[in-house]
C-alpha cells in the first residue's frame, strides 16, 4: 500500500519531473539548430516556442517545488511514468505547430510513439516535412530508446540515491556499473559508438545509391536513429522500401538487431566477456524464436508463391520478421501487403514475434527474451520433476551475465509480466474489432502498439477513431514502461483520492 502522499512527496515529484522537462527542452536544441542551418525559419520558430514552453514548465516546476527531500523509491517510479506523459504533452508542440498533424491528439500519438520507440505515426505528408521536424522525430525516438530518464540521469540528476528507482521505473533493471549514473553514461557510450559506425556505413550505402552527400548524411543519421532505438521512424513514408537496396537492408538489420540487445550484454561483450553473446539466455532465445518464425513465414510464403525467387523471399520474410522481433517496425513491403499477400499465417507469425519482442534493458519492447527463456526453462524443469524419482532434486539454471538459478520468485515475476502483456495484447485486439476491424488485423496492430514495434497493416491512419488513438497511446506507454511504474502512478493517485 502506498502511504498517503504528503506535501513533501508532491514537491520532490514535481521537482524531478521539472528536471526531465528541462531535458526535453534541451533535446529540442538539436532540431532547432537543424532548422536554422537549413534556413527553415517557420520550423525554427515552432521549436523556439516549444523550447520556451519546456523551460517555462520545467524551471517553473523546480522553482515551485523546492525541497531538500531525497527522491525515494515510489517517487522515482511516479516521476518515471509521469514524466512520459508531461514530455508527450509538451514535446508534441513542434509537430502540432507545423500543421502536418490533423489534431493535437495526432501530434501526441506521434510523440508518444517516438518516445516509446514504437514507430506508428499519424503525421501527414511525411515526404515533404522540414529537416528540423524530421530531426525532432528521430531525436525523440533515439532519446526514447535510451530512455528520457537515462538522459536526465546522465546530465541532470547528479547521482541521487533515488535515481535508480527512476531508472527502474522506465522499464530497466540492469546496472552495468555499480553507480546508476555511470550505468546511464555506459548506455550512452554504446549508443554513440554505434551511432558513429552505423551512420557512416549507411552514408556510404546512400552515396552509392546516388543521394547527394548532405541529404545522404541526414537520411543515414535518421535511419540509424530509427533502427538503433528499434523505433521504426524513417524519413520517407515508404520506410526502408524507399531505398530498394540490399546493402541498406543488411546494414539496418545489423543495427536494429544490435539495438535490441540488452545494454548489459553489450557492456559485458565490450569489456572482454565475448562468449557471453552466444551463452546469454536472451540472445539464445532471440535466435531460436526468430529462426522458428522465419521458418514458418518463409515456408508459408514460398508455398503461397508470393515471391518469385529465394532472394526476394529471404529479403521480404527475414526483414519483416527480424524488424518485428526486435520491435523496430522498419518494413520493405506495403502495409496492406501483410493482409493481402502474407495471409493469416504470415500475419500471425509477425504478430507472435512482435509480442515476444526484444531483450530486457534494451531499446526494444515486448514481453522480452529473458522472460520467454525463463518460462521455457521453468517448463523444462517441471517436466523433469514429473518424470524424475520423488527424491530427486531438480534445479534449472539460465545464463544471463552469469549462471543464475531459476528461482520461483523470478519465474513468478516473469510470468506475471508476461500475463500482463498477453492481457494487454488481447484487449488491444478486441478493441480493434469493437471499432470494426477484422480480428487478425486488429490483433496485429494492437500487438504492434503494445510491444512498441510500429509495423502496421494499415489500421493506423489519421482517419482512425480518436478513442482508438487514445487507447494505442496508453498501450504504447504501458508497454514501454512495463506496467509497474504506471501502476505505481495509479496507486499514488488513488492514495491521494482515498486519503491513505
Amino acid at each position: 500500500m502506498i502511504v498517503r502522499p504528503r506535501r513533501d512527496d508532491h514537491l520532490v515529484i514535481g521537482k524531478y519531473t521539472g528536471k526531465v522537462l528541462v531535458g526535453v527542452g534541451l533535446l529540442m536544441v538539436v532540431p532547432f539548430v537543424t532548422s536554422l542551418v537549413f534556413a527553415e525559419w517557420d520550423t525554427a520558430v515552432d521549436f523556439l516556442i516549444s523550447m520556451m514552453a519546456c523551460f517555462m514548465f520545467g524551471f517553473g516546476a523546480q522553482a515551485m517545488c523546492r525541497t531538500t527531500k531525497e527522491l525515494g523509491w515510489t517517487h522515482g517510479l511516479v516521476v518515471a511514468s509521469g514524466s512520459w506523459i508531461w514530455a508527450t504533452l509538451i514535446g508534441c508542440l513542434p509537430l502540432y505547430l507545423s500543421g502536418h498533424e490533423g489534431s493535437y491528439l495526432d501530434a501526441m500519438f506521434d510523440v508518444m510513439s517516438g518516445y516509446t520507440t514504437t514507430g506508428l505515426y499519424l503525421l501527414q505528408d511525411l515526404d515533404h516535412i522540414s529537416h528540423g521536424l524530421n530531426m525532432w522525430r528521430h531525436v525523440l525516438t533515439y532519446a526514447g530508446g535510451q530512455g528520457i530518464v537515462v538522459i536526465a540521469l546522465t546530465f541532470l540528476f547528479k547521482g541521487t540515491a533515488g535515481a535508480y528507482s527512476v531508472y527502474v521505473g522506465e522499464g530497466r533493471d540492469e546496472r552495468l556499473l555499480p553507480n546508476v549514473v555511470h550505468t546511464a553514461r555506459a548506455i550512452w557510450l554504446v549508443s554513440i559508438a554505434y551511432l558513429g559506425a552505423g551512420t557512416l556505413a549507411l552514408w556510404v550505402s546512400a552515396l552509392l545509391l546516388g543521394q547527394e552527400p548532405v541529404r545522404a548524411f541526414l537520411h543515414s543519421l535518421w535511419v540509424f536513429m530509427g533502427a538503433w532505438s528499434t523505433g521504426g521512424f524513417a524519413p520517407q513514408s515508404y520506410n526502408t522500401m524507399w531505398y530498394h537496396s540490399l546493402p541498406h537492408e543488411l546494414i539496418t538489420s545489423i543495427i536494429f538487431i544490435a539495438g535490441s540487445f540488452n545494454f548489459a550484454l553489450h557492456w559485458a561483450v565490450w569489456t572482454g566477456r565475448r562468449r557471453e553473446i552466444v551463452r546469454n539466455v536472451e540472445t539464445v532465445s532471440f535466435a531460436v524464436t526468430l529462426t522458428l518464425f522465419v521458418l514458418v513465414a518463409t515456408f508459408w510464403l514460398a508455398k503461397a508463391g508470393v515471391y518469385p525467387d529465394a532472394m526476394a523471399l529471404f529479403r521480404k520474410a527475414f526483414y519483416q520478421l527480424a524488424s518485428g522481433h526486435t520491435t523496430t517496425g522498419f518494413s520493405t513491403i506495403y502495409s496492406r501487403a501483410f493482409v493481402t499477400q502474407w495471409g493469416t499465417a504470415g500475419l500471425l507469425a509477425v504478430t507472435a514475434v512482435m509480442g515476444i519482442g526484444a531483450s530486457a534493458c534494451s531499446t526494444g519492447g515486448g514481453i522480452k527474451g529473458i522472460r520467454v527463456g525463463m518460462i521455457f526453462k521453468s517448463l523444462v524443469a517441471e517436466v523433469r520433476r514429473m518424470v524424475a524419482p520423488r527424491s530427486a532434486v531438480i534445479r534449472e539454471s539460465y545464463h544471463h551475465l552469469r549462471e543464475n538459478w531459476l528461482e520461483d520468485d523470478a519465474v513468478k515475476s516473469a510470468l506475471m509480466v508476461t500475463v500482463l502483456y498477453v492481457f494487454m495484447y488481447s484487449v488491444a485486439g478486441l478493441l480493434g474489432t469493437f471499432f470494426g476491424y477484422d480480428l487478425p488485423s486488429a490483433l496485429f496492430e494492437g500487438v504492434s502498439a503494445g510491444s512498441n514495434t510500429g509495423l502496421s497493416c494499415g489500421l493506423t491512419s489519421p482517419s482512425m477513431p480518436d478513442a482508438l488513438k487514445c487507447f494505442y497511446i496508453v498501450f504504447m506507454w504501458l508497454g514501454r514502461l512495463e506496467f509497474m511504474s504506471v501502476f505505481a502512478l495509479l496507486g499514488y493517485g488513488i492514495s491521494i483520492a482515498r486519503g491513505r
Binding site: 545489423i254 565490450w270 572482454g272 522465419v294 521458418l295 515456408f299 514460398a302
Partner: protein
C-alpha cells in the same frame, strides 16, 4: 566443513581508463553474431524456395 565458492562478479569492474580497442572488438563480435543469424535466415529461405518455388 565450510566451503567457499568463488563467484564471478555480475558487474564488470569499472576501469579507470576507457578501453577503446576492447570496445571495438566487442562491437565486431556482436556484428559477426548478427551476421550468423542473418546467414541462418538466408539458408532457410533457400531451403523453402527449393522445396516450393
Amino acid at each position: 566443513m565450510e566451503r567457499t565458492e568463488r563467484v564471478e562478479p555480475r558487474i564488470p569492474p569499472m576501469t579507470a581508463r576507457s578501453n577503446w580497442g576492447g570496445y571495438a572488438r566487442g562491437m565486431a563480435v556482436e556484428i559477426l553474431f548478427i551476421l550468423f543469424i542473418i546467414g541462418a535466415g538466408v539458408v532457410l529461405a533457400f531451403v523453402a524456395a527449393e522445396l516450393w518455388l
